[in-house]
Symmetry: C2
Subunit: 260 residues, 2 copies
DNA sequence: TACACCCAGTGTACGACGTAAGCAGTTAAG
DNA sequence: CTTAACTGCTTACGTCGTACACTGGGTGTA
């Protein structure tokens, strides 16, 4: 059955526990039966290579099997399904990041952001996958834990520590996503970002000063020609903002009320 | 043909121009032939309703046609294909946002962020769509233009103006994405976020103090029970950080070098 | 009035996808 | 040896987007 829609997709407890076991408990080798030519780690590795090179949309079970030289269904002997394969891939990617070392909070959070950024650049497909409620793996959690540690001695409440680290994460997620989209578009069209927009004359014709005054002004003053580095610029601003918060005397408490 | 993979997906110039015309030039009514019972705007409207209620994964041409009471293929008389339908949906969503009014930069950017946030909450599927290099529509650009205007009198360079506005956008994108994932997960599982995590005993069993010291510490001190509002908290930090930048004497210039 | 287009909506069909079910061959435990 | 466990393969089903060919209704020109 295809990944199911609104109704009927209710995960059973057994499914959830299986996902947890898959990620947190290394599989025991079977004693009987023929030696497996394939293995879970080889499947995960091959899947990551496909996703890196060709994008999520090319990541099909058939494609992964093909690169390994096996049939599609042989993969299911080593991985319960595509969803769980993605879980494993994400945790493997986090495993490539270094955990934040102890030290001053600002350097630590910057390190965390740069590690995330580097991971996203190596594996942009992560940002095109559903993120929330994916069963977190041990290596994912280890990274997060180390980032929390670096803000643990600042006199913040527990909630504030979580909020500070996730604020950095959200920013990197945001920049990462547009970066990932760009990478995807360049692969699909075979054109660089510049070349693409240069060919959009039909679009530019609609950018008139009456309709889009600022856009045309910035355009004519060359503001789009040499854009600032979005990651570097934004990261510095976010850390500045967190510094204001961390170093302030009385911190405002912002409780979650309306937010889902 | 299916949406094609790595090779062979090279958009022709004619395709691009068609997408531009679709978004920027309202279609002229045909003089001959039978009156159309369906229309482009009705298709877009129905598609948005489906995506709002059932998520992107339920947004199929068949499903949209069904809600309209027409056959699947009838949609193709009004919309060139699914990709272009998505273009139209995104621009329609931006059209629901109010443009930033003139005024002080901080209030203006906060307004911009809240408008984006509100749009994402109403239409979370936008964040699950590829974003970059989607042909921008007139209403999308109008919002961006108005946001640029609010930072135009601060003595920033053109590049800096763009960087400031997109930094806010990236943050909202990041938070929005995790919000969208949560909404999707709640719809698919029929469980609230809390209920979901409460049932993850098999997972918590692996959260030992040796392995994840900070996580367990925050867990025991209740730091995950009443999380701060991620949007409100992060937005305040980002604006604080931008204030530091905007009000500083000599601004560092961060050129894009390595970034894709 | 005749008729040639044009255009709205339909029906069928194809090749992609994830994966369920069952089969054949291999190995170690009893 | 028998048997149970295990690997990998084949076949098949129900999704998806959409190409293609059609029917019939409507308007412009001859």
């Amino acid at each position: 059955m295809q990944a199911s829609g609104a109704e009927g997709a209710w995960l059973k407890q057994s499914d959830r526990d299986r996902a947890v076991r898959l990620l947190w408990e290394p599989p025991a080798e079977p004693t009987r039966g023929p030696k497996a030519a394939l293995s879970q780690s080889r499947v995960v590795e091959a899947a990551m290579k496909v996703a890196d090179a060709e994008g999520v949309e090319a990541l099909t079970m058939r494609r992964v099997a093909e690169t390994l030289g096996f049939t599609t269904m042989s993969l299911y002997r080593h991985v319960p399904g595509k969803s769980e394969l993605l879980d494993l891939m994400v945790d493997a990617a986090w495993g490539e990041t270094a955990c934040v070392p102890k030290g001053p909070w600002r350097e630590g959070l910057e390190f965390y952001a740069r590690q995330m950024w580097q991971m996203y650049r190596a594996h942009p497909w992560i940002l095109q996958l559903p993120h929330s409620r994916r069963t977190p793996g041990p290596r994912t959690m280890a990274s997060f834990d180390a980032a929390l540690a670096v803000v643990s001695e600042l006199g913040l409440t527990a909630e504030e520590m979580v909020a500070v680290v996730t604020a950095v994460g959200h920013f990197v997620d945001g920049v990462g996503r547009t970066m990932a989209d760009r990478v995807k578009a360049e692969r699909e069209t075979g054109m660089t970002e510049e070349a693409w927009w240069d060919g959009q004359d039909a679009l530019w014709a609609h950018f008139t000063p009456e309709r889009l005054p600022m856009m045309t002004h910035i355009w004519t003053t060359g503001g789009f020609e040499r854009p600032l580095d979005e990651f570097e610029f934004g990261l510095a601003r976010v850390l500045d903002g967190l510094a204001v918060f961390i170093e302030s005397e009385d911190r405002p408490l912002v409780r979650r009320e309306t937010c889902l």
